[in-house]
C-alpha cells in the first residue's frame, strides 16, 4: 500500500456541518471516498491509501485539479483505492462532494 497526504488550497465550501458521507466501493478499478469536515477554512485535505505504487504525481495532478475546480475548502477526503483510473477517481470525488454538500443546500 502507498499512502499520500496532501493539503491543497480551494474555494470555501458552501456550508458547515453535515454528517460524513461515503461513496464508491473498494473493488478492482474502483475506490471509496469518505468526506468529512476537516482542513482549514481555505484548504482541503486528502488522505489517499492506494494499492498501486508509484503514481504519486498523477494523484497530485488529479487532486489539484479537483481542489481548484470545486469549492471544497474545509473538507477532508479520505480515499481507499484499489487501482482506479484518474477518470474514475475524479468522478468519485465529484460524487462525494455533491452528496456531502448537496445535502446542505
Amino acid at each position: 500500500m502507498e499512502r499520500l497526504e496532501l493539503e491543497l488550497p480551494s474555494a470555501r465550501s458552501a456550508a458547515a456541518g453535515g454528517a460524513p458521507v461515503v461513496v464508491g466501493v473498494v473493488a478492482s478499478g474502483n475506490l471509496e471516498v469518505l468526506v468529512e469536515r476537516g482542513g482549514t477554512p481555505d484548504r482541503c485535505r486528502f488522505e489517499v491509501s492506494t494499492s498501486v505504487h508509484g503514481f504519486g504525481a498523477v494523484w497530485r495532478a488529479v487532486l489539484e485539479d479537483f481542489a481548484a475546480r470545486r469549492a471544497v475548502a474545509g473538507l477532508a477526503f479520505s480515499v481507499n483505492d484499489a487501482g482506479a483510473t484518474p477518470a474514475v477517481v475524479t468522478l468519485r470525488l465529484e460524487q462525494a462532494a455533491e452528496e456531502f454538500l448537496g445535502a446542505e443546500r
Binding site: 500500500m1 460524513p20 461515503v22 466501493v25 473498494v26 491509501s49 494499492s51 481507499n80 484499489a82
Partner: protein, 303 residues
Amino acid sequence: MSPPGPPVPRRSYREASARRRLLGVLDPGSFEERLGPAERATSPHLAALGQPVAFDDGVAVGAGALGGRRVLAASQEGAFLGGGVGEVHGAKLAGLLAAALRERPEAVLLLLDTGGVRLQEANAGLVAVSEVMRGVLAARAEGIPVVALVGGGWGCFGGMGIVARCCDAVAMSEEGRLGLSGPDVIEETKGVEELDASDRGLVWRTYGGKHRYLLGEADRLVDDDLDAFRAAAIALAGARRPVDLATLSREHHVLAARLAAHGAAADAAAIWTALGVADPDALALLDADEFLRDVAGTRREAR
C-alpha cells in the same frame, strides 16, 4: 379503459450498494448507522497483508424503522471482497445481534450478499460466522424475529448460507442465490461432471430463489426490486419459527423425506416436475407474480 401510464421504473436491489439497499428497505430517513465509515473500524488483517481496506469493512449496521416498527438491520457490501466475512465485519454483525438482546427491537433484518468467510482472514472469519449463527439463534430464542434478505450479486454462500437458514424467514429474488458450497467450489472439488459452474441456467436452477422457494427454503420470492424486498421484509418481520427440539426434529424429517423423494434427481427441473410444475422450462422466464401464480399449490413446506 384509461391508457396505461409510463411504467414505474424499478429500482434494482441487486444493483444497489449495501447502504442504498438499507435506505430502500427501511422507512425513509429512519436508518441510523452505528460504527459507520467515519469511525474507520477497518480490518487489521488486510492492512497486515498490504491489501486495501474499506472504512466500514464491507458491512453497514444500525437501527431503523420498518413499516413503523423499530428494527436493527445489517447490509453486506458484496462488491468489497465478495461480501466476505472478516473479523471486524463479523464482529459488527455479531454485535448487532447482541444489541438486539439488550434493545429488543421488533425484528432484525440481515441483508446478506456474501460468498462466506473472507479467505484473507479465514480463522478469524470462521469464528465470526459461528458467533453470528449463535447470535441469530440467541435473538430468536428471546422471541426477536430475524429475517434474511438475499438478492445481491454474490448471493449467500458458505457459513453465511447457514446463517440465512438459521433465521426465522428468508426473502429472495430469483437472481439471489442461496447455498453452502458455491458452484465454482463444487466444480473445483468434484469435477465439471458434477456441476458445470459456467452453465448459468443450471446454476440459477440449482441455487436461485425460485428453486429455494419451491423447496420451501425461501419464504418469499420477489422481483429484483427494492420496494418488493421492502414489502417482503415488512410481511416477514413478524414471522416467528420456534427454536425448539420439536421444530428441529420436524425439519430433519422433512429433509429426510426430500432426500428420499428427490435424491436421484439430476437437475432441479426434475424436482419441479415431480412437485407437479406443469412446464418447468418456462419457470425461469416468469416474473415473481407469474411464477407464484404458476406454482401455487406445488410448493413444499420445509419447516
